[in-house]
């Protein structure tokens, strides 16, 4: 098909505003899948994604739409991840499109996440088509939403499309708007191949499958290609697209979207954002905007059973095949034994990986509390990146410490502005500015330490605004901070896996809260266990887990033995989730105590 009849687009939407449902309807309407074949929200394929109602890995679907003008168009829908952790992947997916549907819930209005992605789309010069969804709901107020789009984003919303993905109302209008308003792709068919990788996925039989958009030239089966960032070269074994089931086409022409496989063993050789070119006739320049995804959040992952160490490594390696942004290296903890320090794009990414390890690989894991990377400048001028609180140098050799900050955008009903500012202030936030979106909603900008966001900022924000606030953030850089390491001692021995880096002003309070929380999480054992928080050699808080005094079944005669044995077996099973640290048994929650303080 000539590129005049190709339209490449994505959908930008806040969680729950109806992106997946709309995508389903579009695919269903074009007849790409029959209704019978249509599985609800087919694009979210991993179980976890469905359970959490979010999209983690992007996908691309090609469909053929016969427009009202009687001509057939090839519509390529490129799905984007719906979470701030995957911001970079969103930006690459958008770079592969010419247009984007901006889907907004007619009852909710614009949210912080939507806004961030709209700006990304505008940066990529995308044509934006506002789509107001859920207009079938009684509380829908499309006129209000239109005004908001114009006031906040500054784009014309007079021809916004009203639809209900749930009932199917307005779906054809959406398709027509894509045909009419999204520009056709540019690019020279005869130029050397230049294609943008916007996603990748590991397939056990084909190796890495790269999802890409051809910007110039043609990709053919059998070609030798080069990844311009990594320099790796491969022979293309298979070329095709998704309709949404896989279809081999052997060729992808300029403007088209699809995939190829080239017996690539590891996603590290084929990163998102890289440019694919013809090895024998390479392009002059790669596509701009490539960067290696860098982890922002680190935590330690340890097997509960030491003998599972090798299984954990195997599982991490397998997950890494599919996820270039996951990094890990072996580390040892005197408390937890052998394990791995793992880096993630964000908290959601961390949770997803952890759950996959437990669910798909059947591993019982101890996770240490997540932390950011600190930049420690020593008195001798050496700069050290510390991704593990227990490795934080002694205060006497530290000149100063810097920590990552983010620019946070919070959108909230105006009645909660005070609460948000109070919280942000408490979390060491620095006020930037505030804009009224309309009579009722306000957008507030703050600079905040990333560590506070990881800690409990988002949960607290949700609770102090009764769930109305939406939050988005992007890394802004490192800043000087007065930080100290708080160590935790159990039974007099420091437990490295429980160390935390906190701001000096709140160290006393945090230390106190932490030992109180630990006291409530650690079950009574055979002896009293002192739980202490210390900065350097100075103990700043202490609590005791009292010794277990009584745990015995009073009555045990002939008829009670079976039941008694079952009780003991259950009790023993419960302890398997505990980790022996020195002479103390710790439940998994203890290692996350710092995140669970009330």
């Amino acid at each position: 098909m000539d590129k005049k009849h190709i339209r490449n687009f994505s959908i930008i939407a806040h969680i729950d505003h109806g992106k997946s449902t709309l995508a389903d309807r579009l695919i269903e309407y074009t007849g790409t899948l029959s209704k019978r074949e249509m599985e609800e929200q087919i694009l979210d394929s991993m179980d976890l994604e469905r359970e959490r109602g979010i999209t983690i890995k992007a996908q691309a679907v090609r469909s053929i739409y016969k427009a009202r003008n009687g001509e057939e168009y090839m519509l390529n829908f490129i799905d984007t991840p719906g979470h701030v952790d995957f911001n970079y992947e969103v930006s690459r997916a958008l770079a592969a499109c010419e247009g984007a549907l901006l889907v907004i819930d007619a009852t909710q209005g614009i949210e912080a996440q939507t806004l961030a992605n709209v700006y990304l789309a505008l940066d990529n010069d995308l044509e934006i088509i506002p789509v107001i969804n859920k207009i079938d709901l009684p509380s829908a107020d499309p006129e209000h939403v239109k005004k908001e789009i114009e006031d906040v984003i500054g784009i014309d919303a007079s021809d916004a499309i009203l639809c209900s993905a749930k009932t199917g109302l307005g779906i054809e209008d959406v398709l027509e708007a894509i045909v009419e308003r999204v520009p056709e792709p540019q690019g020279e068919p005869e130029a050397p191949l230049k294609a943008l990788v916007f996603d990748s996925k590991f397939d056990a039989y084909k190796g890495v499958m790269l999802y890409l958009r051809v910007m110039e030239g043609t990709l053919k089966k059998g070609m030798r290609i080069r990844m311009m960032a990594t320099g790796a070269e491969f022979d293309v074994v298979e070329v095709g697209c998704f309709v949404p089931t896989i279809q081999q086409t052997d060729i992808l022409e300029v403007g088209q979207v699809g995939y190829f496989a080239a017996s690539i063993k590891n996603v590290r050789d084929a990163r998102v954002g890289d440019t694919v070119t013809d090895a024998n006739n390479p392009a002059d320049h790669a596509m701009p905007g490539y960067r290696k995804a860098t982890p922002m959040v680190y935590c330690g992952l340890y097997p509960v059973e030491n003998s599972d160490y090798d299984n954990l490594r195997d599982a991490l390696e397998k997950l890494q095949l599919n996820d270039a942004s996951l990094v890990f290296e072996a580390e040892t903890s005197s408390a937890l034994g052998f394990g791995f320090r793992c880096g993630f794009l964000g908290l959601l990414h961390m949770d997803v990986i952890k759950e996959r390890l437990e669910r798909e690989y059947g591993l019982a894991l101890i996770t240490t509390a997540p932390n950011v990377i600190y930049e420690v400048v020593r008195t001798n001028g050496d700069v050290e990146l510390v991704d593990n609180p227990s490795l934080f140098p002694d205060p006497t050799v530290i000149d100063h410490v810097e920590e990552p900050y983010v620019n946070a955008t919070i959108i909230v009903p105006k009645d909660y502005v005070g609460a948000v500012m109070e919280l942000s202030q408490e979390k060491r936030g620095e006020y930037d500015n505030m804009t009224y979106l309309d009579d009722t909603r306000v957008m507030i900008h703050y600079a905040l330490p990333l560590s506070e966001i990881i800690f409990d900022y988002f949960d607290r924000l949700k609770s102090c605004t009764r769930g109305y606030a939406s939050l988005d953030y992007e890394l802004s850089g490192y800043r000087y901070s007065n930080l100290v390491k708080v160590d935790i001692l159990l039974n007099g021995d420091p437990v490295d896996a429980l160390s935390a880096i906190v701001h000096k002003d709140s160290a006393q309070v945090r230390g106190r809260e932490l030992v109180v929380k630990l006291r409530s999480l650690i079950p009574r054992q055979m002896f009293e266990i002192p739980v202490q928080a210390a900065i350097g050699n100075k103990v700043i808080a202490r609590e005791n887990v009292k010794a277990m005094r009584k745990d015995v079944l009073a009555k045990c005669y002939g008829g009670d033995i079976s039941r008694k044995r079952k009780l003991l077996e259950k009790q023993k099973e419960g302890k398997k989730r505990m980790k022996q640290v020195g002479s103390v048994e710790l439940p998994q929650e203890a290692f996350m105590a710092i995140l669970q303080m009330d």
Partner: protein, 395 residues
């Protein structure tokens, strides 16, 4: 000669009837049964007693009628069961023959009749001598009635009388617990069993707690009571010979064998074979445990077609490892500990060798001890308090 574990050393008969079910009770016991049901049940018991046993019965095998409340049956009914046991040679020259009674279900005549049938020991469900506490757990009798019943048992000629007591009751305090124990010590009882209240699933007690209608002493208070009981009874001349059981010491002898300790229950703790009859009753022949149907009608039906397959259907086979683990768990309940020589003989295992590494930390904390002279592994009184943690080693 046969080894102790090659013969039934105890005979248990379960009587699942009660005047009223206590609020904490989750045993097989039923209130408001008609006389007809009781009659059919006694007939079923006699049928099962007549069925051949898989092991011989020791001449001095102990007898225990438990429940429920055995004293809710008539003397004639009890006599029928006793006759069946004697006819079958299960009741020959028992070391001890106990019958459980509840205050409010006996009088002197009935107790005299039990004595006449050959019972040597009365076990009385007293639970508390505080009427508020008794009422809170749904007991049918008052403190005064309990004391009267003990006096009646003494009058009927029983030398061995046990009183069951519960601590950790709703509204109970150390003072009321002390009053209960003191009140009992002033009577003729020679044995006390003290149990901590357990809130079992599905009991009315559980519901009352969930609805916040009653409250129980907290963990520390319950532990204080537990500590108090053993200290107090120790001072008053009682020998603690099992986690929850105390026997009054004689004037001349300090030895356990010279007390009224429960010979019958000791068979369970030494994990020796015991035969059992009745709904929910469990018997043990050294290799299998057989637990009978809990429901009265199901039990009656069970006895109507007795045969090998009936017992196969209710058998819980215990392999050597399970047998050993139960042997150790039960034996460690005894103050004297568990006989490791017998363990070696019965299961071919050197316990110290096999479990030494796991036992060591508990030995270091003086929760577990070993007596080389008697080859016994035992829990110290500190160890008994946290027995479940230690038993975990063996499951």
């Amino acid at each position: 000669m046969r080894k102790e574990w090659e013969e039934y050393q105890a005979i248990y008969v379960h009587i699942p009837f009660c005047v009223q079910k206590c609020l904490y009770c989750d045993f097989a016991s039923y209130a408001n049964c008609t006389h007809q049901v009781k009659e059919r049940y006694v007939a079923a018991l006699c049928r099962e007693i007549a069925y051949p046993l898989s092991l011989p019965v020791a001449e001095q095998a102990t007898i225990y009628f438990g429940g429920g409340t055995p004293s809710t049956l008539t003397v004639e009914e009890i006599a029928k069961i006793v006759a069946a046991l004697k006819a079958k040679g299960l009741w020959r020259n028992p070391k001890e023959a106990t019958i459980e009674v509840n205050p409010g279900t006996v009088d002197v005549e009935k107790l005299k009749a039990f004595k006449g049938l050959g019972f040597t020991r009365i076990s009385m469900g007293v639970q508390s001598l505080n009427d508020t506490e008794l009422k809170a757990i749904g007991r049918i009798h008052t403190a005064e009635q309990a004391l009267e019943a003990i006096a009646m048992a003494q009058k009927a000629g029983f030398e061995h009388i046990n009183a069951d007591v519960i601590y950790g009751l709703p509204q109970q305090s150390l003072e009321t617990l002390k009053a209960t124990l003191s009140g009992l010590l002033a009577t003729a009882i020679d044995h006390i069993s003290v149990y901590g209240l357990i809130v079992e699933e599905g009991t009315p007690l559980e519901k009352l707690l969930e609805e916040n209608k009653i409250s129980l002493p907290d963990e520390d208070m319950a532990a204080d009571m537990y500590d108090f009981v053993q200290e107090f009874l120790g001072q008053k001349g009682f020998l603690r010979y099992e986690i929850s059981n105390y026997a009054r010491r004689g004037k001349e002898s300090q030895r356990l064998v010279d007390t009224g300790y429960s010979r019958h229950n000791d068979v369970y703790w030494r994990y020796l074979p015991y035969a059992a009859f009745g709904a929910s009753a469990a018997s043990f022949d050294g290799l299998n445990r057989y637990t009978r149907p809990e429901n009265i009608e199901e039990y009656i039906a069970f006895t109507q077609s007795l045969g090998e397959t009936c017992y196969e259907a209710i058998a819980e086979p215990l392999d050597a490892a399970e047998g050993l683990s139960e042997y150790l768990m039960m034996g460690l309940r005894r103050s004297a500990g568990v006989d490791l020589a017998m363990a070696k003989e019965r299961y071919g295992v050197d316990v110290l060798q096999r479990y030494g590494r796991e036992l060591q930390p508990y030995m270091d904390l003086q929760l577990v001890g070993y007596d080389g002279e008697t080859a016994s592994l035992f829990l110290t009184s500190k160890g008994m308090a946290v027995g479940n943690q230690i038993f975990e080693i063996f499951v």
